[in-house]
Each structure stands twice: as structure tokens, then as C-alpha cells.
């Protein structure tokens, strides 16, 4: 046994200790389920080797409400209330594909005016969802200020949604065959339904101009920030090949350079009547994912402004039977939600409710990519990568 404290041995000991390899053990790190950056209750169990993360296991189910089972014991009009709560940041857009699926099976032609109102509110939901992302993501990578701007601007959009539907987060506004008469509308009779509240066009124009300004402001405030760039550029790069095999969709897929947008490629709402761009990223890193969403806000605002100018007149509801029975058949309707492809696979047996309702949500597939993206990432980047996926746990767990 060599005594290390003996001055005679000092020399040889220090030489020996340099060549000794330090054995380290991987540490298991638990994140969540109530970590502020997890947008709900996602739990990650990660192995940490120094600053490097590997073997990340997402643990789901803390927000599982079993909507697919509940839908089997409810009638079609009741399910609209349920699906509102899947992605609560953009509640309105969850209703659209479900209602469109039921209408498709029932062969109902929805009046143009109702379609336009749906489209306007869907785009507003997208804007409000992206506002939340902008504020929250900046907060996650260390900038405190932007969330206050984002929340203030989002409020303007939520006020508009509320003035039409009566609800800020859970509008429950769509009906099979059209939309319900607006909350702020005057006395309704069958002949003269005042659908949109007074001053809606004026307020919307003001709010949309503000959205475009806000997006510009974010580009300067966040995008131009050197710290933000350093934290997000070339971090969490996702290739298009990996993304498509995992079913990753929406802004994340577009940030990886794929020009894929269900709004232009399917016809669940009349997007073909409007002129807008689809922002696409180049590198597929965190910065691109942020950038695509900011640019999308501007495009959404442009769509809303055009839709208001070209609002057709006419009824809000098609003729539908009082008791909704969907004919036997099956259909899958998908829509471009703020977070990606959302769709409902309705299997109807001709009853009051579906025999089976499969809910395809964007965040579920988007989060399934996390173990791949976080493999070998640095610990501080974990939050930056996770935040850039912009998921909501209601949308993951359903």
C-alpha cells in the first residue's frame, strides 16, 4: 500500500493518478411530469453521461382521458364538445375534421358562408397557438420578456373568437351542417339570423394588422437575439426522411424543408380561394422550427383579412335532420392544425354515435421523435429541442 501523504511518494503518486481512468456512472435524470417546460404533464426519463443525454424515454398517460372510448357512447353532436379539449390551445381547429367527416358521410353540402366563418376561426386558432409557442419557447431558452408581449397579443385574437363563439378555448361552435348563430348576435329568427357580432370585421382588421406587426416584432426581439440564435441554430436537426417515417407533420416537417401543407392539398375548407405562402425551413433545426411558425402567423393573418373581404352571404346551416344519424360507412378526414396533421377516422354503423372513432393527433407523432432527437444532445439543449416541437399534452394523450 503506497501512502500518498508521504512526501517521498508524492511524486510517483501524482504521476500515477494522471493515468488513472475515472470510471463514471450514468445518472438517471427524471424530468416532469410537472416541469414547467413540458407543456402539461410529459415525463422524460433520461440517462445522463456528464452533460450528454442518451436513452430518453418519454412516459405518457398523465393526461389520458380516453376520448376514443367515450366517443363510442356519445352521439355525434355530443362528441364535438369532447374533441374541443384535445388540443386546448387551438380548440376550434379540433372540431373541423370531425365535423367534416360526419358531413361527408351524411353527404351534406355546407353553405359557403359557414365555411368561411370556420376558416376564419381556424386561422385565428392557429395564430393564438403560435403566439403561445412564441412566448413559451423564448421563455424556455432564457428570454423572459417575449411571453408578456405574446400573451397580450393573443388576448386580442381570443377576444375575437369569444365574441363569435362565446368561448375562448372551447368554442363548441361547429354544428353538423354549418355553425351555430354567434353568441354576440342579436335576436335570431329563422328568417333573419345575424351571425357575426356587430363590429366583427372592423375589430378583426385591427387585430390582424397587430398580428403582422407582432410577428415582425418577434423577428427582431427573439430572432435577432444573439443568445437565441446560439441556443437554437444547428441544435436538434431533424432530417425529412426521419420525420416522415415517424409521421411528424406540420411546421416541424416544413422546417425540415418539406413543402407539405394539408390546407392546399385537401379541400376540407376553401383555402384555394386565397393567396398565401407556405413558409419552409432549410436546416430543420430549432431556429427553423421557430422561424416557420412566426412566418405562418403572418400568412394566417393574410388569409383572415382576405376571407373577411370576400365573405359570402347566405345561410349558416344546411338542412339537416333533427336527429343526426350518420349512414353506414367509414372515412378519414384530416386537417392542417397548428401542430400538424389532425384527423378522425370515423367508422359508422348507421347509429346515433360512431362504432369506432380513431383520433389521429399531431403532437402524438411529433413527440414520438423525441428519443431520436435527444440522443447524444447536451442537457441544456434538451429543453430547447423539446420546446421547439410545440406539443400540448392533451394532444399527445387524448
Amino acid at each position: 500500500m503506497v501512502n500518498a501523504l508521504d512526501p517521498q511518494n508524492m511524486n510517483s503518486f501524482s504521476e500515477a493518478s494522471v493515468s488513472v481512468e475515472i470510471e463514471t456512472e450514468d445518472m438517471t435524470l427524471n424530468i416532469g411530469p410537472q416541469h414547467p417546460s413540458t407543456h402539461g404533464v410529459l415525463r422524460l426519463v433520461a440517462k445522463v453521461d456528464g452533460e450528454k443525454v442518451h436513452d430518453v424515454k418519454p412516459v405518457l398517460g398523465y393526461m389520458h382521458r380516453g376520448y376514443e372510448k367515450l366517443a363510442e357512447v356519445r352521439s355525434y353532436p355530443q362528441i364535438t364538445t369532447l374533441v374541443n379539449r384535445i388540443d386546448w390551445v387551438a380548440g376550434f381547429s379540433n372540431e373541423i375534421p370531425f365535423i367534416a367527416g360526419a358531413e361527408r358521410l351524411m353527404e351534406i353540402e355546407v353553405p359557403e358562408r359557414a365555411k368561411h366563418i370556420r376558416l376564419i376561426l381556424t386561422e385565428m386558432a392557429r395564430i393564438s397557438s403560435h403566439f403561445v409557442f412564441n412566448g413559451a419557447y423564448a421563455l424556455e431558452v432564457g428570454a423572459l420578456t417575449p411571453i408578456f408581449y405574446a400573451m397580450e397579443d393573443r388576448e386580442r385574437v381570443l377576444d375575437l373568437i369569444e365574441s363569435v363563439t362565446g368561448g375562448r378555448f372551447h368554442p363548441n361552435f361547429n354544428r353538423i351542417g354549418g355553425v351555430k348563430p354567434a353568441a354576440g348576435a342579436g335576436p335570431t329568427s329563422k328568417k333573419n339570423i345575424q351571425d357575426l357580432p356587430a363590429g366583427f370585421y372592423r375589430d378583426t382588421k385591427v387585430a390582424m394588422e397587430k398580428v403582422i406587426q407582432a410577428a415582425d416584432q418577434f423577428q427582431n426581439l427573439i430572432g435577432g437575439n444573439e443568445v437565441f440564435k446560439k441556443r437554437t441554430k444547428n441544435v436538434g436537426v431533424l432530417t425529412a426522411e426521419t420525420a416522415e417515417a415517424y409521421g411528424v407533420s406540420g411546421p416541424i416537417l416544413r422546417a425540415s424543408g418539406v413543402k407539405s401543407d394539408l390546407r392546399t392539398q385537401t379541400d376540407y375548407l376553401p383555402y384555394d380561394q386565397f393567396d398565401y405562402d407556405i413558409p419552409v425551413g432549410e436546416n430543420g433545426d430549432c431556429y427553423d422550427r421557430w422561424d416557420v411558425r412566426v412566418k405562418e402567423m403572418v400568412e394566417s393573418a393574410k388569409i383572415v383579412l382576405q376571407a373577411i373581404d370576400s365573405m359570402p352571404s347566405g345561410p349558416l346551416q344546411a338542412k339537416v335532420p333533427k336527429v343526426i344519424k350518420v349512414p353506414q360507412g367509414r372515412t378519414y378526414v384530416r386537417a392542417e392544425n397548428p401542430k400538424g396533421e389532425m384527423g378522425y377516422y370515423i367508422v359508422s354503423d348507421g347509429g346515433l354515435g360512431p362504432y369506432r372513432l380513431k383520433v389521429r393527433t399531431a403532437s402524438f407523432s411529433n413527440v414520438s421523435i423525441l428519443p431520436i432527437m435527444l440522443e447524444g444532445a447536451l442537457l441544456p439543449d434538451l429543453i430547447a429541442i423539446m420546446g421547439s416541437l410545440d406539443f400540448v399534452l392533451g394532444d399527445v394523450d387524448r
Partner: protein
């Protein structure tokens, strides 16, 4: 879409086109090969989802099928290409007594979580799955909640609230009960 459907028809004679969706029914033994073919030859690289349907005549939730069905699991995948112009669903039937099917992970990596969900919700066994364990449900949870035989406890305590709204409406008995907005 028409052209694509004709191409599909050359390989899969029984494919149908309904609501802009191509449906292909296959035998469960071809499950992997068909998906490989669709991915490589038909460029359907986007894996949208995988799920199952429990077909059974005796149900404890919802309504039973109007026509009698042979009890089985139907497994469905939904694929598309990145232009989103072509949408294809592939379905197969497996028996309920031996609910085994090959895992799709080698073809589409994204099938992983979808298969774990179908495993816990329906009790379907995906062979060669590297990590077939519960996704949502807590450890020790017994039963497969999405089975039609799985009871909703709240429905036992209280009948379906929808009955109150739907039953007894005068229009239901009339043959043409359409109303205006």
C-alpha cells in the same frame, strides 16, 4: 389520384376508392410485404397512424353492429405521400383468440408508439416489437379498455346521458324529419 389508383389496382385488385381514400384489404400474412411495397414502389413514405377496431356482436358500450359480424380485430394503417395527394388505408383481420401480427417498426419506425397503444388498448400482440409495453395506462392496470366488452363504470352507475336528449323526439318517428337551420 385517378392515375395513382389505377397503378394501385394493378398490384391490388380489390382496392377501392371512396371519399378520396384508397382502401386495400389484405391477408395478415402479407402485412409486412405489402407495406414495404407501398413505401418503396408507391412512394407512400408518410406514416400517419395505426389502429384497430374490435368487431363484436356482444357489446357492453355503445351500439352493437346492426348486421351480425364475425368477431375479429381489424387492424388499419394510414399512409400518404408528402404531397398529401394520395391517401391509402391498409386493413387486415386477425382472430380474437390469437391476436398476433408482425410489427411494422422495420418498415415505418413511427409505428412503435401506435403499436404499443393498440397493444394496451386491444390486447393485440405485435411480434418482433422491441419494446412492447404499456404506453398510457399505469403499471398493473388490468384489461384492455378499448374492447367492446370492456365496461365503462360510469355507464353502469348512470345510463347514457345522451338518451335524455335523443329519445322521445317527435321527429324521430316521422320519415322525413328535416328542419330548417
Amino acid at each position: 389520384m385517378e392515375e395513382f389508383f389505377n397503378n394501385i389496382k394493378e398490384s391490388f385488385k380489390e382496392a377501392t376508392l371512396e371519399f378520396e381514400t384508397i382502401n386495400i384489404k389484405i391477408d395478415s400474412t402479407e402485412w409486412i410485404d405489402v407495406h414495404k411495397k407501398l413505401r418503396d414502389e408507391f412512394n407512400l413514405k408518410f406514416f400517419s397512424w395505426l389502429s384497430a377496431i374490435d368487431w363484436d356482436n356482444e357489446v357492453s358500450v355503445g351500439e352493437a353492429p346492426k348486421e351480425s359480424v364475425s368477431p375479429s380485430f381489424e387492424i388499419i394503417t394510414c399512409l400518404s405521400d408528402l404531397d398529401n395527394t394520395n391517401l391509402v388505408t391498409v386493413s387486415t383481420s386477425i382472430s380474437k383468440s390469437e391476436p398476433n401480427i408482425n410489427s411494422l417498426i422495420d418498415v415505418y419506425a413511427g409505428a412503435n408508439w401506435h403499436e404499443r397503444e393498440a397493444y394496451e388498448m386491444f390486447g393485440i400482440n405485435f411480434e418482433n416489437h422491441p419494446n412492447l409495453e404499456k404506453l398510457y395506462l399505469p403499471d398493473g392496470y388490468e384489461g384492455n379498455p378499448m374492447l367492446k366488452s370492456f365496461e365503462l363504470i360510469s355507464r353502469e352507475v348512470k345510463p347514457w346521458p345522451g338518451d335524455v336528449d335523443v329519445e322521445g323526439m317527435p321527429e324521430e318517428s316521422e320519415s322525413d324529419g328535416s328542419v330548417d337551420g
